[in-house]
């Protein structure tokens, strides 16, 4: 039987990944920072997907986190990177706390479309808001860390890399603990047969709302990272193509492994960067072929390369079965 990694080993891996940044060339450092930040939001999508629901509108929380941090940073001069991540996570989380219970009763395509619609409403509001810079957005200052400023670009990049890897790494450890827990098991149960879960006394809505909240917190924190990396925010953060990119990573990763999300995010950034470099006019085509290849050869995601395959997909339709029973 495969033994799970102990959380202390995972912490050591996060520390090693952070220190490894010292050996990376500057361009790879930026790439890895973006990959870690995107992995964080995609991880939230994977957490939510374990209840059987996919959010096509995580850009909403991504933008909420980014705008929340940017407004507070500009108003109060808060530039500390860790504080900004906490604020971003809180903004995303607060929004998730309100929206989650409202949409938890929906499932499948309705759930996905509702999240998409909400993110596009937010996008529309941002574009029309002159106070927030409209479609141009606005800039923020360079982040600091515990009172230290980084004027050397290499050091600034490393600081951002380190914070993003540590935060995303700990989010990954948290998600791993969640996946292995009773609550994680209940999430899978809700995905497979939410009516049966209800008959066992489990509130499917509550399970979905909690997972939704976690996804929103991760997305808000990711928005803070994106803001720190670009030092600029605009409504594009909430646009549907931005959300789609995060779903793209989640699809590449599959929902069986936390590590797969990081691998998928890094793989996507590498494919995108190299195809952009060598095939500047057709890089989207390369990206599409890459996704097709993964779906074709690894239909359960990159994680299925090292996670033992569970047998058979759920085909049970609880309500239908009960109706059939009633007809007997």
């Amino acid at each position: 039987m495969k033994k799970d990694l102990h959380p202390l080993v995972m912490i050591a891996l996060v520390a090693a990944a952070t220190l490894f940044g010292r050996a990376l060339p500057t361009w790879t450092l930026s790439l890895a920072t973006v990959a870690a930040s995107n992995a964080l939001i995609a991880l939230g999508i994977v957490v939510l997907a374990r209840t059987g629901n996919v959010s096509f509108g995580q850009g909403l929380f991504f933008a909420a986190g980014g705008y929340g941090v940017a407004l507070i940073a500009n108003a109060w001069g808060l530039t500390d990177a860790v504080t900004q991540v906490v604020i971003g996570a809180a903004c995303g989380g607060l929004l998730g706390l309100v929206i989650g219970p409202l949409i938890a009763r929906y499932s499948g395509i309705f759930f996905g479309m509702l999240t998409l619609a909400l993110s596009m409403v937010f996008y529309g509001a941002l574009v029309k808001s002159t106070m927030l810079g409209g479609s141009d957005g606005f800039n923020v200052g360079r982040p600091t860390l515990f009172g230290m400023s980084f004027t050397d670009p290499r050091e600034a990049d490393f600081m951002l890399y380190a914070v993003s890897v540590i935060v995303t790494g700990f989010a990954g450890i948290g998600a791993t603990i969640l996946f292995r827990s009773e609550f994680g098991l209940a999430s899978l149960a809700v995905r497979e047969n939410n009516l049966r879960a209800e008959y066992l006394g489990i509130s499917a809505n509550r399970v979905i709302s909690i997972n939704f909240l976690i996804a929103a917190i991760f997305a808000g924190a990711s928005g803070a990272f994106a803001l720190m990396a670009q030092r600029h925010i605009d409504p594009q953060f909430a646009y549907w193509t931005t959300s789609g990119e995060f779903v793209f990573i989640a699809v590449l990763a599959g929902n069986q492994s936390v590590a797969a999300v990081f691998v998928a995010s890094m793989a996507l950034e590498l494919v995108r960067s190299f195809s952009n470099l060598y095939l500047p006019n057709t890089w989207q085509l390369v990206l599409g072929v890459f996704l097709l290849g993964v779906i074709l050869f690894l239909p359960r995601g990159i994680g299925s390369l090292w996670i033992s395959k569970r047998h058979g997909r759920s085909t049970s339709k609880a309500a239908l079965a009960i109706e059939e029973g009633a007809a007997q």
Binding site: S181, E182, L185, E192, L195, G201, I202, I322, Q328
Partner: protein
């Protein structure tokens, strides 16, 4: 003795089809009651209303004197009514033990973040419960790999986790071969006995009914045709005509 479940004037219609036509029934504690009737007689509709899946159009359902007619399946389960299904409702991608663990964690309103197997010994409890049904050897196998009869037993084991006041079993031996039906039912009755004092089971097999039920309630077109001990009900002329098919 006060009944565990008391149903009065229960009504349910699906368009022109009358599934429950003023049903009244008392179920005292400790009985094993079988609901019989032809397809469409209203047995499963009755079970679905009692467990909160369907809302009755009229009438009342009292569990220990409290009205549960408008409650959700989750709320009804928490109050002490559990059920199994004609088509087993399991989490097929999970193992048998994981299915039981989900059921056990559903008993507590709070779910632990501890590892599944470690959380308050729930993993062991799941395997123990499977052992009671003679299924300890399949604990680590995904449900999708298991035979229909085994799934049926797991479904019943999951319903039993709450130690319900009233356990409703929807055709516990359907899909089980004629040679195995008594062994399966013996296993169910034996495994259920310590945790569920009152059992209501929907059944089509009259041999099972006469062997295991203390009381039989015969349904026909949403009404109760006969109610009494098996030896009397199964000989009833109307029951033989409309339910068991013994009279032409």
């Amino acid at each position: 003795m006060n009944p565990v479940l008391s149903v009065r004037g229960l009504e349910k219609r699906f368009g022109a089809v009358v599934a429950a036509d003023g049903l009244s029934l008392d179920i005292p504690a400790g009985q094993k009651i079988s609901l019989i009737g032809a397809n469409g007689a209203g047995k499963t509709t009755f079970v679905n209303m009692v467990t909160g899946y369907l809302r009755p159009d009229g009438g009342s359902i009292l569990l220990d004197g409290a009205d549960i007619g408008r409650r959700s399946p989750r709320s009804v389960a928490r109050l002490g009514i559990s059920r199994s299904f004609q088509i087993p409702q399991l989490f097929v991608e999970l193992t048998a033990a994981e299915n039981l663990t989900v059921a056990i964690s559903g008993v507590s309103a709070r779910m632990s973040l501890k590892q599944r197997a470690e959380a308050q010994g729930r993993g062991e409890k799941a395997v123990d419960l499977l052992g009671r049904f003679g299924l300890a050897n399949v604990a680590d196998r995904p449900v999708s790999e298991l035979a229909g009869g085994v799934r049926k037993l797991i479904d019943i084991a999951m319903a039993l986790v709450r130690r319900p006041k009233l356990l409703l079993l929807d055709e516990p031996t359907s899909g089980v071969s004629a040679e195995e039906k008594f062994a399966t039912m013996d296993r169910v009755i034996h495994a259920v006995a310590p945790d569920a004092a009152t059992i209501v089971f929907v059944e089509h097999d009259m041999e099972i009914v006469s062997r295991y039920a203390d009381r039989v309630v015969a349904f026909y077109q949403g009404r109760i045709l006969a109610d009494g001990v098996p030896s009397h009900v199964l000989k009833d002329h109307e029951v033989r005509r409309y339910v068991t098919g013994g009279v032409r």
